[in-house]
Amino acid sequence: MHNHRKKILITGANGYIGQRLVIKMLDAGYDINVLVRDQNCFSGNSSVKAFQYDFSSLPPQDAFEGVSVLVHLAAITSSLPPESDGIELKAARQLIECAHFSGVKRILFISSQTAKMDAPTTYGRTKWEIEQEILKAKGLVARPGQVYGGKEQGLFGVLVKTVRKFPIIPRFVPAPKVQPVHVDDLAEGLLRMTEQAELSAGVYSLASRDPVDFSSFLSSISKYRVRSFRLFIPVPVFLVSLSSFLLGRYLSDKLSINRLKSLFKLEPMETGADLKRLNLILRPIHAGMHPSGDDRRRCLLMEGNALLHYILKEKPRGALLRRYVHAIEQVRDASSLGIPSIFLKLPILLALLDDRRWVCEPRGKELAWRLDAATLMAEATTAGASSFLGLGRRASLLINLSVVVRAVVSELFWRAVKIISYSLLIKIMRQHRGEK
């Protein structure tokens, strides 16, 4: 991959974003040095060299040896006493100085969407101040939007835990907007920022182009991550500000109310140009919310469930369903066909798609293949031996005659339904394709 292995130094490597970034960079073939508070946290990984560091100490010089890129990710996210306000900025200056001294070619600082000269939180103001130092040093600044996905850590972790814990979730009015970005997409973006030589110093915004309501973001968490229904009740934003005022700074910080407050003041970022420059495509939120980082498997499971249910007339067993998913992963392209959800919810309707005439449709041929495959896999079970061969069922002239007649009548019925609903069916399929 890389003839000459580049070395990258990462601060805050053990955090929510840092951990994913380290994995991404290792995969890309880099050597990694990390500056972390707990030197032992990377002891299991021989390709990562860890150095003890916190904002109160001086950066260890030997960590910079041979390093070509410094990625500064460490930040104070919890509340500290007011006297430590300048510590983060001071530490950043020291890091920049060390980097220059050791010949580091690029500095990349991970800031925040809240970074602003007059931000409501110390966090946002500090980020802005550090940004200025970085830009002065011709470094790159990344401003991630609402980071989500993967492990339940960071702000995302707080949000998931909250949604999981409470059956009722506030829906703030007026609705604050967030611009989500999956933690792995962000890590990919950061990797590209360290790699692309032609990028000029400046601020890069990494987040979804279109802002979404914060409550719809929370509802995605409940729907795709927590997987249960949550009731959203409107809460006026001024109530939050009021409670923050009443609780005082310490308690508000403790209860993350101040972070909420900064959320309300978020201004939308223009991200389109930066994403394009980095050639970064963000995954849809329903995919990213899944713990594995994408919902390919989940979609395949739903597809297998529907197909096998349609064939067996009963819910398929787990082992059979897993075999279906595994087979598509092993033998086909490993992704689901994207059958409209109405068919997934009501598998009997698959009769409308189980037709050689669809073979000319873009994915019709593949659907026919998968139905054949599901048929054989469904048969190769003891339940299948009963429904296919009639093993363990009674047989007689009358019984078999009624089985045959019923099969023929059902066949004719669905053919008739198909003719009647043909235009509707075409519409559903077209609409579905349009959505995709």
Partner: protein
């Protein structure tokens, strides 16, 4: 020059072992090389329906842990999709550089070759059929006899197919038929006079399957696992013969050896190839004589390669069709395990004496999905239909003479053998007449030829390939002598299907074996003559 061996036989299938026996018996040093594939997935050891009902791991041998059946979904026959038989067919076309165009190419790298998965159909060629061969019918008769005794044949009885098969002198009694076939045979006997007038004759199938234990193999217990593999070894496979040959000190088997080519220096032939088990991956052996028994396709490529011939040669292959019969009076019959290979066979004449050969089979040992996939029904209801109907259904197939093939084989400049498929222009109309006659006769016997079920197979689907380097009385280059010796390659013999002078509609394996035995005896006697 000192050779490693007297004879090298390339291939361990029915032809190879049949020639090996007389050669080994005469004391010659014989080397046999083959692809060396052996069975990996065990077929069920209890009856098919019992294992379907109780085996929670049945997907392992029906679908395969690596989804073999799904990977093979485009293939022409359920046999080519059975995971337990995967080892028989796997890797053949790649290893032997066979490319197809409108033709189905199947071959084997397994020890025992395609006989590990064959339909066990056996038949002797009649005197008139042997008329196309450059030797007297009497000359092959003792070989027919030897093979019949060695492999074990059942089905012999006095019926309308006795003279067609010509095998009853050394045959075990027939294997138990299922109810449907019994009923059909009853009806045939009852309406025989009328049916025979249509040009249709029917009787028990003669098969290389034991009905009684013989030579260490057990008799058929009708467990219905024929498609998957017989744990009683009732079905003949050359694999067993290879084991018997290995008992001899002057016989050696090299498995995992794929021949790349042969080369002559003085009176010695050097056989070079890739060896799966050697460190360098390459190896060669030398002998005075080389016998090609690699299967028609592989043999054709190697012979054309040795001759450096880029000429296109005719490849015989039988046009086939399959059909399904329904016996309405048996609707509701309980499904029971049945013998899975041919139970009744028939011969019929269409259009000015064109012979057609066919057999009918039970449906009980085949996955129902194999039928559902061809039904013009929704899957969900196709399954129901089959559950109700299948126990009163039979399937059948028919073969036409290989002379109706228009397939050709040609060696490309890259050393690949490319096969172009096709049928004679008479085939479509013949098939229509076959269908009509089948419908009429089976109707007489109380069976309905299910509409749309009569399906003509794709060229090559019969897997009866033959006649690319045919034996002739006056062979020219690219042909072989009456003992299969290739013109222009002294000491090189073709002993498999490739040397057949003609390919009739009858099952040809038995004739290939007898002919290989005949050639083996000839070579052995020549060698003895030289010594004395």
């Amino acid at each position: 020059m000192i050779q490693d061996y007297d004879v090298i036989i390339i291939g361990s299938g029915p032809a190879g072992v049949s020639a090996a026996f007389p050669l080994v018996e005469s004391g010659l040093r014989v080397l046999m090389v083959d692809g060396g594939h052996e069975q990996k997935i065990q077929p069920p050891d209890i009856d098919y329906l019992a294992s379907r009902g109780s085996d929670i791991d049945q997907h392992k041998w029906i679908v395969g842990d690596d989804y073999y059946a799904l990977r093979q979904s485009d293939t022409v026959s359920p046999k080519l999709r059975a995971p337990t038989l995967g080892y028989v067919f796997e890797g053949f076309s790649e290893a032997n550089k066979v490319v197809e165009d409108g033709f189905i190419t199947v071959g084997s790298l397994a020890t025992g070759g395609l006989s590990n998965a064959w339909g066990c159909g056996v038949a002797k060629l009649g005197d008139d059929e042997l008329g196309s061969f450059p030797f007297n019918a009497l000359e092959i008769e003792p070989s027919y006899q030897t093979i019949a005794e060695r492999i074990g044949i059942s089905g012999g009885c006095d019926d309308d197919m006795s003279s067609y098969f010509g095998l009853d002198t050394s045959s075990q009694p027939p294997i138990q038929m299922d109810d449907l076939h019994c009923k059909m045979l009853d009806n045939y006997t009852r309406y025989r006079e009328e049916i025979v007038k249509f040009g249709f004759q029917m009787g028990r199938s003669r098969v290389a399957v034991l009905s009684e234990s013989y030579a260490g193999r057990k008799g058929c217990d009708v467990s219905g696992n024929c498609l998957w593999g017989c744990h009683k070894k009732a079905l003949y496979s050359a694999y067993e013969d290879v084991q018997a040959l290995k008992e001899n000190n002057n016989f050696r088997l090299e498995q995992g050896f794929t021949v790349e080519g042969i080369e002559r220096s003085e009176d010695t032939w050097r056989v070079a190839g890739t060896d799966r088990y050697s460190v360098s991956g390459f190896r060669s052996f030398s002998a005075k004589k080389v016998l090609f028994a690699a299967g028609t396709l592989a043999t054709t490529r190697l012979v054309l390669g040795a001759l450096k011939s880029k000429k296109s040669v005719k490849l015989l292959s039988c046009p086939t069709a399959a059909f399904m019969l329904w016996l309405p009076l048996h609707l509701g019959r309980k499904i029971v395990p049945s013998f899975g290979l041919g139970q009744l066979s028939f011969t019929m004449n269409v259009q000015r004496n064109t012979s057609v050969f066919g057999s009918t089979f039970s449906t009980a040992g085949i996955p129902v999905s194999e039928f559902v996939r061809h039904l013009p029904f929704h899957k969900r209801y196709g399954i129901d239909l089959m559950r109700g109907l299948l126990s009163s259904c039979l399937i059948g197939n028919i073969f036409l003479s290989g002379e109706f093939s228009s397939a050709t084989a040609r060696l490309g400049s890259n050393g690949e053998l490319s096969i172009t498929g096709g049928f004679d222009e008479r085939v479509p109309s013949l098939m229509i007449d076959v269908k009509k006659l089948l419908r009429k006769t089976y109707w007489q016997m109380g069976a309905v030829l299910l509409p749309k079920s009569f399906t003509v197979g794709r060229p090559g689907g019969d897997i009866h390939y033959a006649g690319t380097v045919p034996m002739r009385s006056h062979p020219t280059v690219g042909e072989t002598s009456s003992y299969g010796e290739v013109m222009g390659l002294d000491g090189v013999y073709v002993i498999d299907g490739a040397c057949l002078s003609t390919l009739t509609e009858k099952s040809h394996t038995f004739t290939i074996m007898a002919n290989a035995d005949r050639i083996g005896r000839y070579i052995a006697s020549k060698a003895l003559e030289k010594k004395t």
